[in-house]
Symmetry: C2
Subunit: 554 residues, 2 copies
């Protein structure tokens, strides 16, 4: 009897996780990994940082080679080799050797597809245009670095998502003059507009030439032309406008695709043919908020699902837990700023017509009396009927990674927004606050849930004031002097309690810097029988919203 | 009708959280805060860092004053005033003014007790002994700083818990020659012995004079004498050996105390008299592992329970969620090391006779290919029958706070140890790994649960080898040259797979540096039909255990 044979298509992230796990579960099995590119198991998430020089040593990107994987795990790894067709009836794949051009057929007992994604087509370009490069493989970064070494001084990055922003940062670190062209009104689409205000500020602070709500229409030998008519002279273009799942092989084999366009799989990573598994960016996940299929392209999910496929092959579905729904947790460093999102944003919830409550806070990462505290901006989206956490966004510095992890786990375990106030989280002065930023989110959520707080959002303020409400700024005169909302009247909180300043009749909106003193003021005025609301997130959220909507910060 | 009156005994942490929350819930209520000391709402967790100079400005410790609390929250705050008796029938307290000596009686509608703790009695001392100081109040740190400014150059710290270790670090930062006298065999009792190895190393690296398994028996005008007979010349003693709940007032009033010695409260912070609430370090919590009453003295719990008491007073129990059980999450910085624990340790589980499974890992905080990755040591304790997380310990640098938060929340929400492998956690190269350290804990836990891995603990190794097992070190020759376990045979993992080196008959134990290659080796050998176990946590855990048990590191 010959050993069972598992063929894995794609030798990075999900594919390689499946291969090594399967080996540890079954030492006798034949495991063959087929990779189109020249490298397997490389650090694809690290590529931008090699361009920027933060990762100095190219070899650090190459985690394994076919040789090391053979020696350690007994894997048969073939690079520059492509699976070009699947014969499901014969349980065989046709394999094309890109070096020799030879084709051969190999049978499988199980097949795992981890083909990843393909970039969207490049923008229209002249034949002699400046190079238009992607940033997806070792070959790509070799190409980019060679051109920078050869004297390129200017770059246009198309697309302000993950890879685009990482490319911007890393090119700027090398002293390149960088322009970012992004189709949306603000970078990093998972962020809502007012949360992106600090991102825009950070990019400008590093002299990035920003072209928002714009796109490349043409690339010539010296410049790109934008839809707005702007021309940007450049030496190269990095095209990071996005990808779509690489489903060609699966579709040609008649495997079912899902509504999102990815390969459809069950919670054990099985395709519509149960001998064939699929994992990684080509595959649909289930969105934790909607329960619907969605494309979520994260390395962590790819690795986990690769492991799941191996477990199911070796142990069977009964022994393996079904995949959890995906929260889509994402984190990104942009210069000195950290951006993190999980679940759904307000824009998406609005588009889906899903009711939601919004709240903003601006806590410091650790106790304010301890040196080095850094302010972060947080946003939480909550289901009004069930207090469920629908999403969260954080922009700041130190401690953002920690809080988004807690919020992601809260979503994965069904912790309600109000219960965040009661979580036991790590506190000592260098690390946090006795009331952690996550606890504080819970306090605000609880106050909204019980009706103790009535809030006005930053984008609602103008309308509420137009309807006749009076805006009271309860900050100190020094804070007001540094910037205030037009039309506000300054009555510091302690003066408000003292009752020395007469208040106009009619509805009131109070606000402070971040929302906390505003809450105390609102409770004080409500206790006196007034119709009062608190500006959610205070002056800082209002200001960040204006950065995006008006394209400038006062 | 006069407004209801709530009297709060104790104006720090829990007491002040209750006062300000109650004001926001009810603007009309009379709220009186009685504080024995001269300060309220000070940053007690920050005190050691003011001694060390990291917090430079003394005023940063004084978060509020009676005046600011009156102006902002309409609180009647009285310092240097003590509640000396409670008349529960008359609903009145006798209040003693420490400045004037005057006594008066005040009635209450509700009473909230937040008296905190009292230190254990000082060690025996001559009348003219060097100063024996505690580190608990603003007055304490003023006293310590004055003596340091006056020329003290040597200090003995008694007690290697939270405050003791913070005192050690901060005195050393000021150039003081510090001796630490600790009764246990290793500092920070919540840590198990092998996890404390790096802590001992770190203290030695900073020239701390360590006296473990020892205690002060006498303090003279120039020196302390220890139980071991050692004498340490010193200029002052910081006594940080611990505290007990301050229950005198409650006990005298006939309120029930619990089995742990703290004031007994229900999940709404009500004492046995439902007009009287109690919060903070004087109060029993419910331990999340055992479900039994326990003393857990954390600022976060004090603040949270203060808020709960206010909520119940203003809104009633029906509107307020019952308190969650306490995980006892603790974090502490000791020089460049971060220590964090949650739940039960192995020593406690053994003492309680509670079955448990143990595992150790040594991951880096973020992807190894990205610069600046720091190794941490993790330990997880798991219920063998139900895969429940019973406790976790982490010692390392960056990222420890984040992982302990995730593990604490996992315990609070009942996430099983194996499910840790499937959590979606933040990953980008500067922040983590596609397989986060918490995911990796889950992998190991799952492999133990399913029986894929059979483990030997560091303290079991000698016994297993004595019974005839052979120890195979699968690391590289370079790693072995830097330090190896006596009696081990080096066969690098890839050579093991190649099968070039014959193996002895009989049971095998394999090990690598951290346990990961050992796992692969064990699976390989098991596949070949061998009786094999993997040394849990590898060489690093074995070495850390030896640091404590033998008092030295090879």
């Amino acid at each position: 009897m010959t050993a069972a044979r598992t063929i894995i298509v794609g030798g990075v992230a999900g594919g390689m996780s499946a291969a090594t796990r399967l080996r540890r579960l079954d030492d006798a099995r034949e495991i063959i990994v087929i990779e189109r590119g020249p490298h397997v198991s490389f650090a694809n998430c690290g590529l931008p940082y090699y361009v920027g020089g933060e990762i100095e040593d190219r070899s650090a990107l190459l985690l394994q080679t076919p040789q090391t994987l053979g020696a350690r795990f007994g894997l048969d790894v073939r690079v520059r080799t492509e699976v070009v067709a699947i014969d499901r009836v014969a349980r065989a794949v046709r394999v094309h050797d890109l070096a020799t051009g030879a084709d051969r057929t190999m049978t499988y007992d199980q097949l795992i597809l981890s083909p990843g994604s393909v970039p969207v087509p490049p923008p229209p370009a002249d034949e002699d245009s400046v190079p238009i490069l992607t940033l997806r493989t070792i070959d790509d970064v070799d190409d980019i670095v060679a051109r920078l070494d050869a004297g390129a001084r200017r770059a246009v990055v198309a697309g302000g998502g993950f890879i685009g922003l990482e490319a911007v940062e890393n090119l700027a670190r090398r002293g390149i003059r960088v322009s970012l062209v992004h189709r949306g009104s603000h970078p990093f689409r998972p962020l809502d507009a007012e949360m992106a205000g600090p991102v825009i500020d950070e990019l400008r602070r590093h002299d990035i030439d920003l072209h928002l709500a714009d796109e490349i229409t043409h690339v010539s030998a010296t410049a790109v032309t934008l839809a707005s008519g702007a021309q940007i002279e450049t030496d190269l273009v990095i095209d990071a406008r996005g990808t779509r799942p690489d489903t060609a092989l699966a579709a040609a084999a008649g495997l079912a695709l899902g509504p999102s366009g990815g390969i459809a799989v069950d919670p054990w990573q099985r395709t519509s043919d149960h001998r064939i598994f699929a994992v990684g960016d080509a595959v649909e996940k289930v969105d934790v908020v909607s329960g619907a299929p969605a494309l979520v392209t994260m390395a962590g999910l790819a690795n986990r699902h690769g492991r799941t496929a191996a477990d199911v092959i070796a142990l069977g579905t009964d022994a393996v837990d079904a995949a959890d729904d995906a929260t889509g947790l994402a984190i990104l460093r942009v210069f000195d700023l950290v951006i993190a999102t999980v679940g759904a944003g307000e824009a998406r919830l609005r588009a889906e017509g899903r009711p939601h409550r919004v709240l903003h806070t601006h806590p410091t990462d650790h106790a304010g009396y301890f040196p080095g505290a850094e302010r972060m901006s947080m946003k939480l989206l909550v289901g009004p009927s069930d207090d469920r956490i629908l999403g969260a966004q954080i922009v700041g510095g130190r401690g953002v990674d920690r809080r988004i992890d807690v919020l992601s786990l809260a979503m994965q375990t069904g912790v309600s927004a109000s219960r965040l106030s009661r979580l036991e989280l790590a506190y000592a002065p260098p690390f946090g606050s006795a009331k952690d930023p996550v606890n504080q989110l819970g306090y605000v959520a609880d106050n909204l849930r019980t009706g103790l707080t009535r809030a006005v959002q930053w984008h609602e303020l103008a309308g509420v004031l137009a309807e006749g409400a009076t805006l009271i700024d309860v900050r100190s005169p020094a804070e007001v002097a540094a910037g205030a909302i037009p039309g506000s009247t300054n009555i510091p909180l302690d003066d408000l309690r003292a009752g020395t300043t007469p208040l106009p009749d009619g509805p009131l909106v109070v606000h402070c810097q971040v929302g906390q003193r505003g809450h105390t003021a609102a409770r004080l005025l409500a206790g006196a029988g007034r119709d009062v609301r608190n500006l959610d997130g205070g002056y800082l959220t209002w200001l960040a919203g204006r950065t995006v909507t008006e394209g400038t910060r006062s």
